[in-house]
């Protein structure tokens, strides 16, 4: 598997380069963002002297490249910081300390990440089941009423803004029908059952839209496979249509679906802002929007890097899965 090893190495190097570039861009962009960080951190009624003290504390007066260099050093070697009463160590890879809450960015991410992952991975299961199921069904029943109905539903899901779906679900299911409690995040480790119940609606609203994409992709991919020669072979040998669709066409159609999936999971972690905001899930997206609001640079950089990492990772994973699924693809 030296080919695979080489692939991993190339991707790893590429990932690091990409992430560093992203961090530079984020640093520069947010450096230029208006808003006096020290004043925001200190509070609006702080005197100029206090603001100055805070700026020193946060090293805001250093030039941009010095701050970025310190960020890199912290990333590689970790850094020490004072809580006032003692010295704490932030071990590598240290993404720094939040200006606002003085917490280690890494630990903030680690508390937010499970929420986002719970949301996205759970929704993923749902959108795969719904999307692939719908896609298969509509490919099999092509031209019939079932397909038209499914097509209409898929398009409706596709065209509805996520916040509208989420809001309507919440009003109807929790408010009017009172079938479910209003969602509030419960740790999986605390109570798996509550975790699932509380995430059901967020999962649904995220999954409905994604499922539409998957249904389209699966159907398209299925029809493409169904048009391939080997399907004709099995027809010419009297194999039943059900077996052909379920066994041969589906297997062939999975590769692009897997690729799309890995890809979407990556971007969904960063993109679940709307869902997280709407349902009050304390995830990465919500935290990031907030951090941008208060120009909390270390948090923004850290979170964007984590999201970027997942996107890049998911892309690499998509390629591996695609190659595994297809076998005819060569990894480069």
């Amino acid at each position: 598997m030296s080919g695979f090893g080489g692939f991993v190495l190339r991707r790893a190097v590429g990932t690091v380069v990409t992430l560093l570039a992203i961090s530079v861009i984020v640093y520069v962009v947010f450096y230029a963002t208006p808003g006096n960080v020290a004043q925001i951190t200190c509070g609006p009624r702080c005197s100029p002297e206090q603001v100055h003290q805070v700026a020193q504390q946060l090293r805001l007066d250093d030039p941009l490249y010095v701050r970025y260099w310190q960020f890199l050093v912290g990333l590689v070697a970790g850094q020490d910081y004072s809580t006032g009463t003692s010295v704490e160590h932030c071990s590598a890879p240290c993404l720094g300390l939040s200006y606002q809450s003085d917490q280690q960015v890494m630990s903030i991410i680690l508390t937010k990440l499970p929420v986002s992952l719970s949301l996205v991975l759970g929704a993923m299961v749902l959108w795969l089941v719904l999307g692939v199921g719908t896609g298969v069904l509509s490919a099999w029943r092509r031209g019939r009423f079932t397909e038209r109905l499914l097509t209409a539903l898929t398009l409706a899901g596709w065209a509805t803004p996520v916040f509208v779906i989420g809001l309507v679900l919440m009003i109807v299911v929790c408010g009017e029908l009172q079938l479910l409690p209003f969602p509030q995040y419960v740790n999986f480790t605390d109570d798996p059952e509550q975790w699932a119940w509380n995430l059901l609606l967020p999962w649904l609203s995220l999954a409905l839209i994604e499922a539409a994409a998957f249904a389209r992709m699966t159907r398209a991919s299925m029809l493409e496979t169904l048009a391939e020669d080997h399907i004709r072979t099995f027809r010419a040998y009297g194999v039943a249509e059900r077996t052909i669709v379920g066994r041969h066409a589906l297997r062939g159609a999975l590769a692009p679906v897997i690729a799309l999936n890995a890809n979407n999971v990556g971007s969904a972690i960063g993109g679940a802002v709307l869902t997280e905001t709407l349902f009050g899930l304390p995830g990465i997206g919500q935290e990031l929007v907030h951090a941008v609001d208060v120009v909390d640079l270390p948090v923004v950089v850290g979170m964007v890097l984590v999201i970027g990492f997942f996107v890049v990772l998911a892309n690499a994973l998509a390629d591996v899965l695609y190659a595994l699924a297809d076998r005819r693809v060569v990894l480069t």
Binding site: R45, Q53, G84, C174, L278
Partner: protein, 572 residues
Amino acid sequence: MRQPSATARRVAAASVGLVLAAGVAACGPEDNDAKGSGGDSTPHKGGTLTVLNSDPQQDFDPARLYTSGGGNVPSLVFRTLTTRNRENGAAGAKVVPDLATDTGRPNKDATEWTYTLKKGLKYEDGTAITSADIKYGIERSFAPELSGGAPYLRDWLVGAADYQGPYKDKKGLSAIETPDSRTIVFHLNKPEGEFPYLATQTQTTPVPKAKDTGTKYEEHPVSSGPYKVVQNENDGEHLVLERNTYWSASVDDERKAYPDKIDVRSGLDSSVINQRLSASQGADATAVTTDTNLGPAELAKVSGDKKLAARVGTGHFGYTNYIAFNPTVKPFDDPKVREAVSYAIDRSSVINAAGGSALADSATTFLPNQKSFGYTPYDLFPAGATGNAAKAKELLKEAGYPKGLTVTLTHSNSKDFETSPEIATAIQDALKKAGITVKLQGLEDNDYRDKIHNVKTEPGFFLAHWGADWPSGGPFLAPIFDGRQIVKDGSNFNNGLLNDKSVNAEIDAINKLTDLDAAAKRWGALDKKIGEQALTVPLFHPVYKRLVGQDIKNVVISDWTGVLDISQVAVK
């Protein structure tokens, strides 16, 4: 948003310290008694109170909090030297003793204040609370590591301006003396009759030095109040408070502490909070919110439902939304132009944009319409409900603009219904009738605050608001109109850049008074006097409406906070 978040800062910018501070207001007692859906409205101990909030209690450190009257959730854990009176309406705008035996004993010129602690005060670990701990708590609040909080201690205490807190400066603050473990004495720069109000803020919470963990203290602050923190997840997002067994009602006259447990959930969307409170399902039946008002849309729905309407508490908080002029920018250097705008303003459409007559009271005075502020009604440039375009045109003509003029109104882009585009657009629409063409300049919130609080970049015509750090005219008028508080190289709130000797002198004179009622009257008179200069156009005072769960009892809303007091709520 977390406490130091944009929203919080935004409001804090107006010096309201709302998030933390905010309690809910109560309006009349009639509202409250009507509550208690069941037949038995007497509150009992026990049960779990759920708090649904949008902003996490991120800074749970008494040094960092910017509260009015000690805050709501924080005041369950932090006791202070004095505190607000936990009563409905105007009675709630009074200062009362908390840890101290009285509201403070001043020397003759009110430059020295002495407090004596009650006997038998204990922390959650059973150790005794001493005056040295209070002194240490105040000293910590000067540490740059623990930034936040109001500026008064730094401004008022002798030699405190350059103090950097106990971590860097081991000698401590000499302005505070603790002759014995129950006595604490404050030495001030100048006479401050309102020191008892300041003593309500969480900076006067005792912090045991041995337990201080610096910036990590907020993870588990040591309780002096009726509840202690047993769980603090995700930096204040989920808090669980349980009874502090060392607290005793016998040494705390204010907090009722009915529920056994308080479960604070935050990070929720405001519409979700209100939806949950109105549905009142399961645990939400015993839920309240300490930071989310009913919006206009929700009010429209609630007001059509009698059962729901009975669960709405109404409160007033000392707060004014206004238009600010910078008289150094043309054409606003001409008082006639400022007066023309004052005449032309259509308050009804502004109030509609702010949520309608149920959520905003029309304002013609800068001071809030409450007695404790010294409210003296006046309407110097009567515009009626919808504006006096004719009078405005006349004034413009006098000022040399017979064909009207074009001006730029600066506002924030955040969606707060205070300085937001909705209000600005309403003003734009109203001034059109008087021949004033308004161009809108919407700025991102950080940018907006940077610009309007910087003397060098302050626009000529913009939306602003101001709220009370405590219910008195002092912190309401001084930062805005005291010429000596103009900050040239930092955050400036005297937007009109007013530096009038007679105004300054009057402020100093009132500050000397320790008779707060007498002081209030003179604040009211001063307000009217300043109003003549037309440096602001008062627009409205917000009204707070909040829902509570259907099983919530004993809702108390004071005029101090305008929102329900969580220490009084019962769930049984």
